[in-house]
Symmetry: D2
Subunit: 282 residues, 4 copies
C-alpha cells in the first residue's frame, strides 16, 4: 500500500501542470499524502513518486531523488519508461494506492575519471556511460576486471544498464538486456574494424575505458555531455550504489511496449499463437 | 587440492592418445588417482576432469559426466574452452594438483518440446538451443515469461548460454556474454525483417519458441541436430539443473583467448596502455 | 503501347483464376491480343506479361519466359515485385495499354559448378545464388576476379542481384541495392568471425565460391535447393545473359513499397518535410 | 608511358621529405619531368602524381588537383589508398614510367546545402558526405530521386563512394563497395530504430538529406567538419563532376590490402585453394 505519494509535473508542459491539478486532489480525497518536489528536496521520502511527463522527467527525477520507486504517466511523445498513458492515470493510481504493484530494480553505473594521478570527476548514471568522439575517429581501450580486451578505433564506447540498453546501446547495434539480467552491455560505436560485437559483462565487473587519441572526445552520462576527455584519461565504470526503481503494474509489459514504441511488430497481421496466460508444464 | 583426476583423450586423435600416455603416469607419480572414462561411467566422480582434445571433446564429456569441473588441454585446431596449449600441460597440472584454480560455473539450458498435448522430447544443452530452418524461411514466435515478444521470419532462433555465446550466437550478430552474466541471449538468425536485435533475458526466464511454418525445421542442441520440428511445436527453454564447470587457472584469460582465437586484435601493433595488474582505487 | 499482353494466373488460387476471367475479356474489349501460358510455351512473345499472383509467380514466370517485361497484380500476402494491388488492376492496365510505363531492367546471375575437371551444373537466377550449410558450420572461400578475398566459416554465402537484395541478402545483414545499381552483393551468412561486411562488386565481376568443408551444403538458386555440394566444388557466378524486366507505372514506388511491406516507417507519425515533387536546382 | 610526374611529400614528415630527395633525382635521371606542388598550383598537369605520405595526403592532393591519376607511396601508418610500401618505390616507379599501369576511376560526390530559399554551401567529396549529430540524437529524412525513403533518428547519415566505403560507411555497419560499382552507399549512423539497412543507390541518383531536429549537427566532408546544420536544411548530394583517379600497378590488389590492413584474414592459417591465376572457363 502506498499512502505517501510524490507528485512531479514536467516543467514547461501545460498539459502536465493541468494534469497535476487533477491528480493531486484526487489522491488527497483517497487519503494519500501528496509530497511536492519542494518537500522531496527537504528530505521527504514518499513510498512512490508519480511523474507527469516523459522519459526525460523520469531520468531527471531518478537522478535527483534516487532509489524511490517511480511511476511515469506519459505526457510526451514516446514513453518507454513512462508506460502509463495519460488517459489511464486513474486506474493506475487505484492500483498504486492498493499496493497492487511490483518494484522492478535495475543497477546504476558509477563513473570515475582518472587523469594522471588524480580523480577529476565522479558521477553516476541510470542508463549509460558513453565516451563519444566529437567529430573524428578516436581510439578507446577496454579492460574488464583489469584484463585488456581490445583497442577500438571508432566513434567511442557505450556501457549500458538493462534499462539503458534500449537507448544508445541498441542504436549502436547492441542487444537489449531485459530487466533482471545481471549485467552491463559494453558496445563499441561505429568501430572502424571488423569487430563490433557487444560484450555483456557481469554486474560485478570493473570496466575501464582508456581514451588513447589526441582528438576531442566527451564523456556523456545518460545523454548529458559531462566532461571533455583527454588522451590518457581512464574512465572507470562499475555498479553504482543507487538502484533505479520502477513501479510495475500488472498489465504493464516491457515486450508490448518495446514492440509498439518501435513499430516492432514485424508481421502486423500476425496473431500470437499462444494465449497470454496459457501456463504450461514447467 | 585435486587428488582424484579424470583423464580422457579424444578418440581418433593419435596425438591425444600419446599425450595421455605421458600425462597418466606423470599424475600417478605425484600421488594422484587417475580416473578413466570407464570408471566415470561406473559412477566415479573425480575432483577434476582433464580432457586431451578440442572443444568438441569438452562438450561431449560435459554432457556425459555433467557438473564435474573440466580442464581442457588443447589437442586441436581452435580451443576456446580448451584453453591450455599442449606444451603447457605440466605447468597447468602442477597448479591443478596444488589446488591453485577456480571453478567457473555457467548455467545449462533445459529444452522441452510440446506437440499438441504431449511432450515429445526433453534434452539439455551447454551452449545453445537452436531452431533452424532446413532450407527455406520459417516463422518463429518468441515468448518470454509467457509474454509475446514477436514473430521472427527467417532462418530460426538461438538461445545461448554465456559459454555458448561465442559460438552461433555471435555468428548471428549477437553479443558475447562473459562468464558470470546471469542471462541467456535470444538471437534471431537472419531475420527477414529490420529487427535483428538480440534480447538478453535473465537466467530465471521461461523462453518459449513456437514454430509456426509448414516448412522443414530442426531442433539443434549444442550443434547436434536432434529433432525435426512441425508447425505448432512449442520449444520451452529454461535454465537446466546441471551446471557447466570449467577449471580456470590464474593465467587463463577469456579476453586474451577471445582476441587471439579470432584474430581479434584490431590494431596488431597496439600495446595496451594499462599494465595487466595496475590495480586502481575502486 | 502494349497490344499483345500475356496473362497468367497463379495455380491453385481461386481468386487469381476468377480475376483472370475478368481481366482477359476486359483486355480483348480494348483491342488487345491476350496471350495464354500455352501460347507462351509455343514461343509467343507478347509486349508485356501480366501475372495474377504473388512474387513467387513472377519469379517462376520470369524463369520460364525470360526477358519479357512483367507486371504483377498482387493476389497474395506480400508483394514486393507484384506492386499493383488487386483492386487497382483496371487503372494499371489502362496505363499499360496506353504505353505509359517504363521497363526497369535488372541483371540475372549465371552459376556454373565445377567438380574436379568437369562442370556438373549450370543454372541461372533472378534473385540470388546461395551456398548454405545443411546443419553445421562450413567454410566458403571467396574470390573476386580471381583474387582471393577470404575464407568465411559460417552458414554459407549469398550472391544477390539488386532485385534479390531485399530477400536473403538483407536478412543476413546485407544492404539493399536499388534498381539500377551496377553490382551484386556478396554477403556471408552468420559468419563465425568478426567479419560480416558485405562486399558489393561490379556487375562485370567474376565471383567464385569454393566449398572447403566436408559437411553437407546445398546450392540454392532463387530459394530453390538445386544441388548438394561437396568439398572442393567451385561455384562460379557472373552476370547472366537474361535480364529481369519489370513494368513500372508512374505511381509505383520501390521506396514506398519497401517502407510499407516491412512496416519500415520508423516514426509512424512523421510527415515527410519535402513534397513528393518539389524539384530543386540540380 | 608517364613522362611528366608530379611529386609531393607530406608536410611535417621528415621521412617523406627525405624520400622526395631520393625520388626526384631518380626520376630526372630517367628522363622524367618532375612537377612540384608549386607548378601544379600554377596549372601544370602531369601524367601522374606521386604522393609520399599516407591516405590523408592523397585525399588532400586529390581535392586540390582533381582528376590527375595519383600513386601513393605509403609513408604512414595505415595506407588503403597509398598501397605502395616505402621500400618498393623504385619498382613501382619503373612500372609507372614504362606505362605499365591502369587508372582506376571512382566518382566523387557533390553536396549543396539549401537553407530556406537559398544555397548556403557547395562542396565536393571523394569519400563521403556525412551529417553527424554533435552530441545528441537527431532526425534525418532521406529522399532518393525525390521519393521519400524514411526518417532516421540517430547519429546521422553517411553517403559514401566506393573508395570511401571502407571508411565511415563500413564502421557504421555498411557494405564495402568495390571499385567499379556504379553506386553510392547511404548508411544510417546508429539509427535508433530497428532499421539500419544500408541502401545502395545508382550513381545517377539524387540523394537528399533533410535535417529535421533542433539539435546541433554538422556537415562533414571527407572527415572534415564543414558546416553547422540547422533544422530544415536540405543537403542535396549527387555525383560530382570530378573523378577520383588512382594509379593501379599489376601487383596491387584491393582485396589483399583490405584483408591485411584490417587484420581481416579470418583463419590466419588458411591457404587459399585456388591459385592466384588459375583462369577457368567463363
Amino acid at each position: 500500500m502506498a499512502r505517501s505519494i510524490g507528485l512531479i509535473a514536467a516543467l514547461g508542459k501545460p498539459e502536465a501542470a493541468a494534469l497535476a491539478d487533477d491528480v493531486g486532489p484526487w489522491l488527497r480525497e483517497r487519503g494519500c499524502e501528496v509530497v511536492s518536489e519542494e518537500r522531496l528536496r527537504q528530505g521527504a521520502r514518499p513510498d512512490v513518486l508519480i511523474t507527469l511527463g516523459g522519459d526525460g522527467l523520469i531520468m531527471r527525477i531518478a537522478h535527483t531523488f534516487p532509489d524511490i520507486p517511480i511511476l511515469g504517466i506519459n505526457v510526451g511523445r514516446i514513453g518507454f519508461l513512462a508506460m502509463i498513458e495519460r488517459q489511464q492515470w486513474r486506474d493506475a493510481l487505484v492500483d498504486v494506492i492498493a499496493g497492487r504493484y511490483e518494484v522492478q530494480e535495475g543497477p546504476t553505473l558509477s563513473a570515475t575519471v582518472f587523469r594522471g594521478e588524480g580523480v577529476i570527476a565522479e558521477a553516476w548514471a541510470i542508463n549509460d556511460v558513453v565516451i563519444r568522439s566529437a567529430m573524428q575517429m578516436i581510439d578507446v581501450e577496454v579492460y574488464i576486471d583489469e584484463r585488456f580486451v581490445n583497442t577500438y578505433p571508432g566513434d567511442g564506447m557505450i556501457v549500458a544498464t538493462p534499462q539503458g540498453s534500449t537507448a544508445y546501446c541498441m542504436a549502436a547495434g547492441g542487444p537489449v538486456l531485459a530487466a533482471g539480467v545481471g549485467g552491463f552491455a559494453v558496445t563499441p560505436i561505429c568501430a572502424h574494424s571488423p569487430i563490433r560485437t557487444t560484450l555483456v559483462v557481469p554486474e560485478a565487473a570493473l570496466i575501464e575505458l582508456v581514451m588513447t587519441s589526441d582528438r576531442a572526445a566527451v564523456l556523456i552520462l545518460d545523454g548529458v555531455p559531462t566532461l571533455p576527455l583527454k588522451r590518457g584519461d581512464v574512465v572507470q565504470v562499475h555498479r553504482g550504489e543507487h538502484r533505479f526503481r520502477l513501479v510495475i503494474l500488472e498489465h504493464m509489459n516491457f515486450y508490448d511496449a518495446f514492440r509498439s514504441k518501435f513499430n516492432f511488430m514485424i508481421r502486423p497481421d500476425a496473431v500470437p499463437t499462444l494465449g497470454p496466460r496459457t501456463r504450461r508444464a514447467r
